[in-house]
Assembly symmetry: C2
Homo-oligomer: 193 residues x 2
């Protein structure tokens, strides 16, 4: 716990102003601790405050060397299963977008961001479950033009978060940043960090 200097307080407020709940990310059975940590690092880097976790075979244990402390600044929620995760997010007003590696999927640049959006990423080997795909409102893909069949999950998540936060800032205008209440709540958790 560090002393809250004026300089530090300014930094907290600066980052807080660029945080959003408009975009959120869901990891379903992403088992590898390095991938988990890399997603958290990207979420923080692109201002995505909230991350939802549905554990698979492995518990959620992001490797701290890789996350660079990002986990301390994010709101990470664990859900018992994908149904609970999606129910929770829908109640909050999110449209649910499932990553999908086929022609059913909409290219990332064309994903409709006129409403808050949650992006689902799946297991390193199996991808998202059938349930996750069925529960989603739509599916998206980061278009690929090579021989490899898929990107590393943390790379796919990073490209997605970078792109949709940039696009959503334009589309959502004043709906994009956190409300004053939300900022207050997040700041409270940061001051306890």
């Amino acid at each position: 716990w560090e002393l809250l200097t004026p300089q530090r307080a300014r930094r907290l407020v600066e980052v807080l102003k660029r945080r959003t709940r408009y975009i959120t990310v869901v990891l379903e059975a992403v088992d590898d601790g390095h991938n988990q940590a890399a997603v958290l690092r990207s979420a923080d880097a692109f201002g995505v405050q909230e991350v939802s976790i549905v554990e698979g075979r492995a518990s959620f244990s992001p490797s701290e060397g890789v996350s660079k402390g990002a986990h301390k600044w994010l709101t990470i929620r664990k859900h018992p299963d994908i149904h609970a995760a999606v129910r929770f997010l829908r109640e909050q007003g999110y449209r649910i977008w499932a990553s999908r590696l086929d022609d059913n999927a909409v290219p990332l640049e064309a994903v409709d961001l006129s409403q808050p959006a949650a992006f689902l990423f799946g297991n390193e080997h199996a991808g998202l479950s059938e349930e996750a795909l069925a529960l989603a409102d739509g599916s998206f893909i980061v278009p690929m033009v090579g021989f490899v069949q898929s990107l590393n999950i943390s790379v796919a998540a990073a490209i997605t978060l970078y792109t949709v936060t940039r696009r959503a800032r334009e589309v959502a205008g004043d709906r994009y940043p956190l409300t004053t209440e939300e900022q207050r709540a997040v700041l409270q958790t940061w001051l306890r960090t």
Copy 2:
């Protein structure tokens, strides 16, 4: 070595048509085998045929489980030092863009792609060397709005390659794909794979 079936030949040509030399990537002293492999996987996924390597403390040994065979489809050149790498690329007509984590750097979306462009990424701890920064024509950053000071290098490279290949296709028009001669040369290497 597989039999070249008509289906396989069609796939090779399909990927070949979407390959480019207009964008290339340089890794300077990127030591971790997982990061090396992830960059190769992203290069293939986004059609970037050529990758230049300047080794650091560790030799270039991309982990094959992570690259998913991408190394077989790419033209990977090793250079003895950053001067040789930059000289080689400049002679080929590339403008050199160095990744840089400060205000000197141009945001990725504003990087000028009116000429072929080479993107330099540096060591996981130290970043690019002073020489690399001095040799470059300009510097760029993937804008970040959080607490973390940097992205994982393979994430930074993937976001960059995804973004600049998409943008360059628009800007460069018929200068973007490989020439017929270049396609022929690449196909030769693929048929020997």
